[in-house]
Subunit: 110 residues, 2 copies
DNA sequence: CAGAATCCAGGCCGATACTG
DNA sequence: CAGTATCGGCCTGGATTCTG
């Protein structure tokens, strides 16, 4: 278990969710993977503001937290496919709600 | 509109929600305020790992984003009451889902 | 193609002390 | 009571370059 998550546990389950999912682009990546599995480069194009390092880090953490599955195809050129675990798929309702709320927030933009 | 939110808008509504709600303790504060209005000190006791500076910052941002209402009572000793706006109350389903998901995450702790 | 390596900046959050 | 002031650390995220 990662340290920030440990801390969050002391306070509230809500905070656990935030510290697991709150990283930059994480939930957007999950949203993409809910559609279908993606390759690394595809995800990069879906989230154009994230560079490769950030992308890799977030995906690794999602993998470590049991949300994302990383499958390596041993071939040249290399191919890696990212997909969701069951726990990852359980985020579907949450992602839908956040998408809706975020859109409404922008809509009602001050 | 705050800068990180502007950036998030370029990518996905989900990312907007994350950048508005993802700060430390923010959603936990909203969860408390969904129960009833709280005074500053009360919130501090509900979120014991946040110090006064952090608490103030998060509450100010939530206020700026139209989620929290800050009401000052001109009296001695001072009294400030925090409550939710309509937009804040619209977070109820989201908070409930995240609470549930966070609890399940801890339950299934690796 | 899918990253790893390196370096760097900013801000995000925290501890502590002080104030009207 | 409800903050502000000051200082600082560190972690997050980013730009760029390099590699099997």
């Amino acid at each position: 278990m990662r340290l920030p998550v440990e801390r969050a546990m002391q306070v509230c389950p809500v905070e656990v969710a935030v510290s697991v999912l709150g990283g930059a682009w994480k939930l957007t990546l999950v949203k993409c993977l809910l559609e279908r599995p993606h390759r690394f480069g595809e995800l990069g194009r879906r989230v154009p503001l994230a560079n490769t390092k950030t992308l890799t880090r977030q995906l690794r953490e999602l993998e470590q937290d049991g949300i994302v599955l990383r499958k390596v195809f041993e071939q040249v050129p290399p191919k890696v496919e990212y997909s969701l675990t069951e726990r990852g798929r359980s985020l579907a309702p949450l992602v839908a709600l956040m998408n809706e709320w975020g859109a409404a927030f922008v809509e009602t933009a001050q």
